[in-house]
């Protein structure tokens, strides 16, 4: 796995692990590490949902939108730290530093401030402000949670190495190593860094000891095995330079035979044997090495082995074999030089970038800052020439930037389409509003509502009066009302014909019926009074709703045109911003692509120069062998001259 991809993935892991730890500590219901934490705002949880899937662009923009609408509370501080961490992982150091600085200045909890100081230190470190980074680290008041404390110590050690205080850095790393809570391989990279730094600064013994320790560390995974190999190669060459070939061989023997460092190790192993004046022993690793890289793209170690082998043969006085070896080497170098020229032409024609995109599609991970690096060589002639370059940090970062720029280009294009759609939607709404408005204004809704209100008030007054008087007739139902009407008519008839006919019995019956009806109404009065009041209340609720809707309608009539205009203005302003960004994306993409090509061409030209050097050496050696053969023949020629 390319180192910088590891670096980016670790960056995301760092922020993720931090986010989980941080979320947990800020909420009361903290569970065991790694378990889901209680989220008190669903939109903040949505941010985490995207973030945990490495959809960092969606997470960060979604978070900013939720912060705009104020729906993150009570996770405001955590959200800011998460946002700063995500910005940092994108390389937006300035933005991240601003976020953390604001957090520190505001009245946040001490635990939040400590974390913000740590991330601010990281941001400053990445910007090259090492002194300021140390100052930020010094402001952390308490140990950080989880693995963050380890990271803090590692950063401390790194900053100490930066200013040349290797003793202090070593002390920090020793303390970390002996900390039972630290991860088993914590600080291994830092110790490697320190070892190389000590060798460079002249503290050779200490440097060798550290590299030796790293080179002997058990490695349970490929990443650590690769680091161990690097340490052994560095130690091997350092001891070789110090004229300690036996120690060099011991270190280089520990390097894996098939790995990223194996070529360098084989070369050094051979040179150590040569230093011990044993060219036959040197031939073994060099012959193995010379046979590698047959498909082209041989690295510097393989190229050197191709002339080291004939050199060793010459040392063993096998001059014919040496001559043939040198000849083969020069022929191979010439072919390689031609192949490199073809590669340079292909790179300049844009085939490299094209090929990289085809063979390394971003696929679903098209989000900004994707951790997917270069996983496969591009389809182009002699692509193997570029494999050391493609694995390097500078090229990987440049390619990542190019990919990010392509993502931004696609993002802006999508938004351009969306803005067009929004404009159409807004136009439709305006038209619909303009069409419906006259009908609404001419409708009798308002008048109806007012009339209903009046009727309601009249009914309420009637009810109150009937309630006060205990008027059961007012609460009579239609059947009773009908009976009352019939009784009234019957009484009227009795009154008219009472003198002419004896209707005493009828009158008595009528009196009893009226009494029964009155009794019945009196019994039903409480229930009917309650039902009438309830109905009136329901009518009140409906009238209130109607009034609210009417008010909303009035507001809409008044505000909607202004709202449409405000939206239109915002769409216009955002379109202008978008139009301003698009050319910048295009220009930077072109520049970034050119830079990628320049980096590749520079590397290939450096390889050509290396080849030229080796070829010159081989030709010189061939000439010297021929010269010495000629001298030998002259020496063995008969002593007499021409006769």
């Amino acid at each position: 796995m390319p180192a910088d991809r590891q670096s980016r993935i670790r960056g995301v892991c760092l922020v993720a692990s931090f986010a989980v730890a941080f979320v947990g500590s800020a909420v009361a219901q903290t569970r065991e590490p790694g378990a889901p934490q209680a989220i008190a705002a669903p939109h903040y949880g949505d941010t985490l949902f995207n973030f945990y899937q490495d959809k960092t662009f969606v997470a960060i923009t979604g978070l900013m939108v939720s912060q705009h609408f104020g729906r993150i509370s009570p996770h405001d501080d955590e959200a800011e730290v998460l946002r700063g961490g995500m910005l940092l992982s994108y390389g937006l150091h300035d933005e991240a530093a601003a976020v953390f600085a604001r957090l520190i200045e505001s009245n946040t909890a001490p635990a939040v401030r400590d974390r913000a100081w740590y991330f601010l230190a990281q941001a400053r470190h990445r910007r090259g402000l090492h002194t300021a980074a140390e100052a930020a680290l010094a402001r952390i008041a308490s140990p950080l949670p989880g693995t963050l404390e380890e990271d803090r110590q590692l950063l401390r050690a790194q900053l100490m190495m930066q200013r040349g205080d290797y003793t202090a850095a070593a002390a920090v790393l020793e303390a970390l190593q002996s900390d039972p809570k630290a991860a088993p391989y914590a600080g291994l990279y830092a110790r490697f860094n320190l070892g190389v730094a000590l060798v460079k600064s002249g503290e050779v013994e200490k440097g060798h000891a550290l590299l030796d320790a790293v080179g002997k560390t058990p490695a349970p995974n490929e990443e650590l095995r690769s680091l161990r190999d690097r340490a052994n190669v560095a130690l091997g060459f350092a001891t070789l330079a110090a004229k300690q070939p036996r120690e060099a061989r011991l270190a280089l023997e520990r390097v894996r035979l098939n790995g990223p460092q194996s070529n360098k190790a084989l070369l050094g192993f051979g040179w150590a044997a040569a230093e011990l004046k044993d060219p036959a022993l040197a031939l073994v690793p060099w012959t193995e090495l010379a046979g590698r890289g047959a498909a082209g793209g041989a690295d510097a170690a393989v190229l050197e082995a191709r002339i080291a082998v004939p050199y060793a043969m010459a040392e063993l006085r096998a001059y014919n074999s040496a001559l043939q070896g040198y000849q083969r080497a020069t022929d191979g170098f010439d072919r390689e030089h031609t192949a490199l020229s073809e590669s340079i032409a292909a790179v300049r024609a844009g085939k490299l970038v094209q090929g990289l995109h085809s063979s390394n599609p971003a696929g679903g991970a098209t989000a900004l800052g994707s951790t997917l690096g270069i996983r496969a060589l591009p389809e182009m002639p002699h692509a193997a020439h570029l494999s050391p370059l493609l694995a390097g940090h500078v090229f990987q970062e440049a390619f990542k930037n190019l990919r990010d720029l392509q993502f931004l280009d696609g993002n802006l294009k999508d938004w351009r389409d969306s803005l067009g759609t929004f404009t159409d939607m807004l136009d439709n709404r305006r038209r619909a509003f303009a069409e419906k408005l006259p009908a609404v204004q001419n409708s009798r809704t308002h008048a109806d509502a007012a009339a209903l209100k009046l009727r309601r008030d009249a009914l309420a007054a009637e009810l109150a009066e009937a309630d006060t008087r205990g008027d059961t007739v007012a609460f009579a139902n239609p059947r009773e009302q009908d009976l009352l009407d019939r009784m009234g008519r019957a009484l009227g008839t009795l009154a008219r014909v009472g003198n002419e006919v004896d209707l005493a019995e009828a009158g008595e019956r009528l009196r009893r019926v009226a009494g029964a009806l009155t009794w019945q109404r009196a019994q039903e009065l409480p229930v009917r009074r309650w039902e009438a009041r309830k109905s009136l209340k329901a009518a009140d609720v409906a009238l209130t709703e109607a009034a609210e809707r009417e008010a909303a309608l009035a507001r809409a009539q008044r505000d909607e045109p202004a709202r449409h205009a405000a939206f239109a203005a915002r769409i216009t302003a955002l379109s202008q911003r978008l139009d301003g960004l698009a050319p910048r994306v295009a220009a930077l993409s072109t520049e970034q692509q050119a830079q990628l090509q320049d980096i590749a061409v520079a590397e290939l030209q450096a390889q050509q120069e290396r080849l030229a050097d080796y070829a010159a050496q081989a030709r010189l050696a061939i000439a010297q062998i021929h010269d010495s053969a000629q001298f030998a023949r002259r020496d063995t020629a008969p002593a007499g001259g021409a006769r």
Binding site: D46, Q162, K200, E223, A238, D299, H393, L581, L588, L620
Partner: protein, 219 residues
């Protein structure tokens, strides 16, 4: 020793010294780039710079790396600035989109979260609002993992008029002993003039060793 071999050896040692210097010269770049991160799996590999420096050792002049570094750094700074501008633009565009398509007065959003241990493996969710299907989702392993870690998925956002409404949700998945599960829940809620957020939580019912729904209507 014959002259020819001395000169070759001398040059070879020069090449070797260059290779060695490149290895140790990797330190400043390595120390500058390496960011100590969490745990062994997160530690920074500064030796990557050692490799690239070493591979360029044999021909690179000491001055070249410093000059070459400034141009990429300047371009990188401009790319970062552009990224920041685009992120801010995206925020403003998303805010506009939400206010235009889902105004606060009518907005309703549905969320799915999980609080399960090993009892349930979520496969899909189907949600209806007032008997109308509004959301279905098939879960990838990455999404399920994100939910397990505490993420909350916004599965639907739409518009509803004020008043009473009903949401019905079904989830399917695998429960204990690899049994297929399908569970549903219905809840009525009142929509007012403010946005309404409803969270459907899938929880373990440890007593019955089965997953179950819990619905939270956020105020």
């Amino acid at each position: 020793m014959p002259m020819r071999f001395v000169s070759f050896l001398a040059l070879s040692w020069a090449l070797l010294a260059a290779l060695l210097s490149a290895l140790v010269l990797a330190l400043p770049a390595a120390a500058a780039d390496a960011v100590p991160l969490a745990a062994p799996a997160a530690a920074t590999p500064p030796a990557a710079s050692a490799q690239s420096a070493a591979s360029a050792a044999s021909g690179a002049s000491p001055g070249a790396p410093a000059e070459a570094a400034s141009a990429p750094a300047a371009l990188d700074a401009r790319v970062q600035q552009l990224k920041a501008d685009v992120i801010r633009l995206n925020r403003d565009l998303l805010v506009l989109e939400e206010e235009l398509l889902y105004p606060a007065g009518t907005q309703v959003a549905l969320f799915v979260s999980m609080d399960v241990g090993k009892l349930f493996e979520l496969e899909s969710v189907q949600i209806k609002l007032d008997d109308k299907l509004v959301a279905t989702h098939l879960y990838t392993p990455l999404e399920v993992q994100a939910l397990h870690r505490g993420g909350v998925q916004r599965v639907y956002v739409g518009n509803l008029r004020a008043g009473k409404h009903q949401v019905t949700a079904f989830f399917t998945g695998r429960g204990p002993y690899e049994r297929d599960y399908k569970r549903g829940t219905t809840v009525e809620f009142e929509k007012g003039v403010d946005p309404r957020y409803i969270e459907l939580r899938i929880k373990d019912a440890q007593v019955r060793l089965q997953p179950e729904f819990e619905v939270k209507v956020w105020q």
